[in-house]
Amino acid sequence: MKRVILVAGALALSAAAFAQAPSGPPPMPPYMMRAAAPAGDRLAPGRDGQSLFEAQCGYCHLAGGMGTNLLTKQQMMAGNPPQKGLLTNREDLTGDYIKTVVRMGKGAMPQQTKVDITDAELDAVAKYLGKAG
């Protein structure tokens, strides 16, 4: 438990207005520099799942994001390696599960509207992340 707290604390170190680590600022993580969402009709199927995931979900679910921090902690408490905190490293997610969590919310994650992510976009993201089918 102690190790988990320490790692989670380190991930969140110097959040908000608090002092930064003495070793200097951590580099800007990918979630701070998201690529623009791919062009095209948001209601049409077939857009790129990875780009959509990075643009629409990256605020929290790229490295360093809030969702990644919390999931890293959860994964470690379940005895899994911290890398599993990144959704892109998960092998056990199904498309349907992803859709449910996105639309219903889970734990600290609020539910997402169709303006946040359309059904067509969610299909593409679920396909990209849902490695377990």
Partner: protein, 528 residues
């Protein structure tokens, strides 16, 4: 969530309104299923989300579509609740104040229309989030910084219009708004300030209109729907210095405020200085159960232990100065000398110079982050929070009075005390964060009673909130009682004159149009 119709609207009338809206925005952008209604429910609702239920949502993509939907809303007598990105977390999220109101989600209007590197401003639509603007500034390598709130997942305009605060020199976000375009309740389109003249290039530069100035009349307001606005941005400084003091004791906040406020008023410090209590740091270190495994409030002795163990002060002042290096150095000497009169320990100092990387959590350097939302995880379960947010004069006496009062009330309810004071000038915003598990009915009921008590007792002492959750909009408006609520009378006279059908955000901030006056207080359960 099941369908809750707006007052006096029949199912047939509602359905024809939905069909009419779909004719404007397209069928896919009218969202009226049970699942859609859930999506627009208050994520952090203290109690059932069905207390503030939307009947549907409609998402226009342009000013013309907004105007058309507003005209149809008048025709069908169906009220709208405009939200920018709907992330007003802790204050109601995207949910409407009045049952059955249709959320107008402006998230599709997400264009950055201008980003002026020289005059340091942008013009944005409501759907532009802090992350989007930050990304665009990086892409263009614009020498500009944002001012961001604690949770930067939301909209730049939405936050400014809700009177959100940030922690840079541009931290009073509503003050950064300059030149507003708004759709009025009858569907007319208004531009304020110099924008009232066609093609005037000073639209987003001069902050007043010829005659009455209306920009802020559209903030925390139901007089119109803001479809774009100018936002002033901070020029990226050459250097910045963060000076961090850990302040040992709770009552030290008095001298801290009396030390910093004069320097803020004189302009020597230009930042909004954020002073959070220790729990603000602990929530990022794990879950509550890791530090105190009982449901009762963490007792004083355990707080003392935790402060010692984690080398924390009761408060932390992380003050930041911006500008050319010699100027920052000179200012820093003045600030440090002032603080040293009460605190011998030397502060930590962190310099940043142009060209160096900026840390991902540097909220005082305008870097957006959603990480502070991790506090939702502190209590476990489906964590949520509400902020009790009174404004007090920025003197040690007032701040200590306020802190002692809130702390006692919160302790009486056996809840953890987590407060911050942000010095914005002659005033301080005090936010008391109340964290709870949405699925724990006893805890939710306690939080509601606590919230009632905080409003009542704080008002008795002469202070009021600057912003509140949907469920308390009426009670907080009630506290503004000069001349038998003259402000509300005026607000409602204007509201009813401009919006006789009450189609825009009825009940917003406790301001009700005449046709829905009977709905006042209807969602307020008095702590039950």
């Amino acid at each position: 969530m099941k369908l809750h119709l707006p007052p006096r609207v029949s199912p047939k009338q509602f359905q024809s309104a939905m069909t009419a809206f779909a004719g404007v925005v397209g069928k896919s952008w009218v969202m009226d299923t049970d699942a859609d209604r859930d999506a627009y429910a208050d994520t952090y609702a203290p109690g059932s989300t069905e207390e503030w239920p939307a009947s549907a949502a409609v998402a226009p993509a342009s000013v013309d579509e907004v105007r058309a939907v507003v005209r149809l809303a008048n025709e069908h007598k169906v009220p709208l609740w405009p939200v920018a990105r709907g992330k007003n977390l802790g204050y109601g999220t995207a949910a409407p104040r009045m049952e059955g109101t249709v959320v107008m989600d402006l998230g599709r209007m997400n264009k950055i229309l201008e980003l002026d590197h020289k005059l340091a401003y942008c013009v944005v639509e409501p759907g532009v989030g802090f992350f989007d603007l930050h990304d665009q500034i990086q892409r263009e390598k614009a020498p500009l910084w944002l001012s961001v709130p604690g949770n930067a997942w939301g909209s730049v305009l939405g936050n400014a219009l809700e009177h959100g605060i940030g922690y840079t020199s541009y931290g009073l976000h509503a003050r950064n708004l300059c030149g507003v375009e708004a759709v009025l309740p009858d569907g007319d389109l208004l531009r304020t300030g110099m924008g009232a003249m066609n093609n005037n290039p000073a639209f987003h530069l001069f902050p007043m209109s010829y005659g009455p100035t209306w920009d802020l009349a559209f903030s925390q307001s139901n007089l119109g729907i803001v479809t774009k606005a100018g936002v002033w941005l901070q020029p990226a400084p050459e250097t910045s210095l963060e000076i961090v003091w850990d302040i040992p004791n709770a009552d030290d906040i008095g001298w801290v405020i009396d030390t910093i406020t004069p320097l803020k008023i004189s302009g020597l410090i230009d930042q909004n200085v954020f002073i959070p209590s220790w729990l603000g740091k602990m929530v990022l270190k794990g879950q509550r159960q890791d530090f105190w495994d009982k449901p009762s409030a963490i007792p004083e002795w355990r707080v003392e232990e935790l402060l010692k163990q984690y080398k924390l002060g009761y408060w932390q002042v992380a003050l930041r100065l911006y500008g050319e290096e010699p100027v920052v150095k000179a200012r820093a000497e003045v600030v440090k000398a002032a603080m040293k009169r009460n605190l011998a320990a030397a502060p930590q100092e962190h310099w940043w110079r142009q060209g160096e990387p900026i840390g991902q959590y540097e909220i005082t350097m305008g870097v957006p982050s959603a990480v502070p939302l991790q506090m939702s995880d502190w209590v476990g379960g489906r964590g949520a929070h509400m902020g009790f947010s009174p404004v007090v004069p920025a003197t040690g006496k007032h701040v200590l009075d306020q802190m002692h009062r809130s702390r006692k009330i919160i302790a009486d309810f056996d809840v953890d005390f987590y407060a911050s004071f942000t010095i914005g000038g002659r005033f301080a915003n005090n936010v008391n964060m109340l964290m709870y598990d949405r699925d724990n009915a006893t805890e939710v009921a306690k939080m509601r009673k606590l919230f009632d008590a905080l409003i009542v007792e704080t008002a008795k002492a002469g202070y009021a909130e600057y912003r509140t959750h949907l469920g308390w909009m009426d009670p907080v408006m009630e506290t503004f009682d000069f001349n038998n609520h003259a402000l509300r009378r005026f607000d409602e006279k204007v509201k009813s004159a401009l919006d006789p059908n009450g189609v825009i955000a009825p009940g917003k901030q406790g301001v009700w149009p005449a046709n829905y006056a009977n709905m006042r207080g209807s969602a307020y359960k008095g702590g039950q």
